[in-house]
């Protein structure tokens, strides 16, 4: 008798599903090696567009701005999220626990364009001019829930026994946190930070809304290029970004799973 849990055609469907998932990205990569100036006419293999991409000043500036904003936003968002998660998961008789959880996750409950409009109007009302400061403040806010969720999941999956044992042995709360809790939840903290970093690097809607001279992030810069038309250099830049994401995703995965998870 055939296995009743198997469905005919399901495997072929799933294989096609994976082809569909990867084909568009592979097309971009393939076209980036096209020697011709016209992106859609294939004339031969060439590395020249990578050369020109890596010498593109505006591109490198945009990368620098994106990396700076993402790094600062990630550090602040992860710290704030870690503190909130410790209180909300471990804290006893915390008032407003439900409301606080909602507030921390607020950016996930609204379409980003609404948040972008909100910070744009806020910054124009208080007269904040510094483009980098605007980006960092806005990115920190929407990165917090992405840092928060993996940390909370890790804390919830961990019994408080170890921390209680540390406190029984006269460890101060700070020592117990630093020597016991933090090492145990490190993979969750790391996953949260990684997610926050990627979300910030990838952001378009808010960064575009706040865009001003001197604070053009990588996605906003690429958006400008796309509007000018498809070029092989654009394909080369996209391929480099894909490569960067793959390295980041794989590192995150390996580091998250290297420490054997408990519970």
């Amino acid at each position: 008798m055939s296995d009743v849990k198997r469905y005919p055609g399901a495997r072929i469907f799933t294989a096609l599903f994976f082809v569909w998932l990867y084909a568009p990205i592979l097309v971009v990569i393939a076209y980036s090696f096209n020697e011709n100036r016209l992106a859609s006419v294939w004339t031969g293999f060439s590395w020249r567009w990578y050369d020109s991409a890596l010498q593109n000043r505006a591109l490198l500036d945009a990368v620098k701005i994106s990396l700076t904003v993402a790094s600062v936003a990630t550090v602040i968002a992860t710290t704030v999220a870690l503190m909130a998660a410790l209180v909300l998961v471990r804290g006893r008789d915390v008032r407003l626990r439900r409301v606080s959880e909602t507030v921390v996750n607020l950016p996930l409950l609204l379409p980003e364009i609404v948040l972008a409009v909100a910070v744009l109007i806020l910054f124009s009302q208080i007269g904040l001019q510094n483009g980098m400061a605007k980006l960092i403040i806005a990115h920190t806010a929407f990165c917090i829930p992405f840092a928060f969720l993996p940390i909370r999941a890790r804390l919830q999956g961990m019994e408080p026994d170890f921390e209680e044992a540390a406190q029984d042995l006269y460890a101060t709360p700070w020592v117990a946190f630093r020597r016991v809790t933090l090492p145990l939840i490190a993979p969750g903290v790391f996953a949260g930070a990684m997610l926050a970093f990627v979300i910030s690097m990838d952001d378009f809607i808010t960064s575009n809304m706040l865009n001003s001279g001197g604070s053009t992030t990588l996605p906003v810069y690429i958006f400008g290029l796309i509007k000018q038309g498809t070029t092989p250099e654009l394909n080369a830049i996209s391929t480099l970004i894909v490569l960067g994401s793959l390295v980041l995703a794989t590192t995150a995965l390996i580091l998250t799973f290297r420490t054997p998870s408990r519970g």
Binding site: V4, K5, R6, A10, F13, T14, F17, L21, Y22, P24, I25, V27, S40, V41, V80, M83, A84, L86, V87, G91, R92, V94, S100, V103, L106, P107, L109, L110, P111, E112, I113, V114, A118, V119, L120, I121, L122, I137, A138, T140, A141, P173, D202, F204, I205, N208, L218, P219, I222, F223, I226, K227, T230, S238, I241, V242, S245, L246, L248, A249
Partner: protein, 292 residues
């Protein structure tokens, strides 16, 4: 430092940031939607419902208000495309996640990794890929011409279909993961029981598997539907900016200081639509929970 105090100041930064960058500013957005358009861009504070009226009515040459369906059409199209995207994502994610869940143990993490990987790739690059595929002289047009099926086709880009393709492609990982999580929890003996009771595979899928994985599908639906309602990149790059969605309608009102109060009014409308959707979903979840 006292642990007892930590439960107050540990939450303070999160509350502070959210209050100052989200809660207060959203309040300001509501106020701006009630303001009037300033003479030199920007806006003048006030209490006027003109911006909301503008969604439905247009002032004609002698000052009468005439009903105009253009913005309602944009709201309708946004809701329609977001719903369709969510449905297609669910239809693709269910069989794929089910098959992945059945894969041998050591393959499963690899397949899940492969499903999530595209999501780590920059959104703008993934949308851009569809321009190369659907565009003039794009991959699809060239393939069709190479096969001798067509000589020349209308551009596939800048259509509702192109937006739909981009939206589904952008958000499918957000559907697959929760669906996979609930399929993993599925008790295989229930499927066997259904079969023993002469339920065909199709009946089992519809009457046993689908209802049991519905919580995962609904969780995925929230994750896909909400960002779809506010999509900006897909309508601009794949829809060509001709056919608007609410996301790029809001965006254009704030670009170049066009009409901030009207943009704010559309943003508030979008926010209300999302809140209605989330409340209906929470109500449904509570009712569903009581049944089990």
């Amino acid at each position: 430092m006292r642990l007892r105090d930590f439960r107050i100041w540990g939450l303070a930064p999160a509350w502070g940031i959210m209050a100052l960058t989200l809660i207060l500013p959203i309040g300001i957005v509501v106020l701006v939607s009630l303001a009037t358009r300033g003479a030199y861009g920007g806006f003048d504070w006030g209490l006027s419902f003109d911006s909301y009226a503008k969604i439905l009515f247009e002032e004609d040459w002698d000052g009468n208000l005439a009903f105009t369906p253009q913005y309602l059409a944009i709201i309708g199209r946004t809701l329609w495309l977001a719903s369709l995207t969510t449905l297609i994502c669910a239809a693709l994610a269910l069989p794929a996640a089910y098959t992945i869940a059945q894969a041998p143990g050591r393959w499963k993490p690899v397949l899940i990794y492969l499903v999530t990987l595209p999501f780590w790739v920059s959104m703008i690059v993934r949308v851009y890929a569809w321009i190369i595929i659907l565009g003039n002289d794009g991959v699809i047009e060239k393939t069709l011409r190479g096969l001798g099926l067509v000589t020349d086709i209308d551009s596939l880009l800048f259509t509702d279909g192109a937006m739909l393709a981009g939206l589904v492609y952008s958000y499918i990982p957000l559907m697959i993961l929760p669906v996979f999580a609930s399929i993993e929890k599925l008790d295989g003996s229930l499927i066997e029981a259904s079969h023993d009771l002469y339920g065909s595979r199709w009946v089992t899928a519809r009457r046993v598997i689908l209802p049991l994985t519905l919580p995962g599908v609904m969780a995925g639906a929230v994750l896909v539907f909400v960002p779809c309602l506010g999509a900006v990149l897909e309508p601009i790059l794949l829809g060509g900016g001709k056919t608007m969605l609410m996301g790029n309608l809001i965006q254009t009102q704030f670009g170049g200081g066009r009409n901030w109060p009207f943009g704010a009014a559309i943003a508030v409308t979008l926010m209300v639509l999302v809140m209605i959707f989330l409340m209906l979903n929470a109500l449904r979840a509570r009712k569903g929970g009581a049944d089990v």
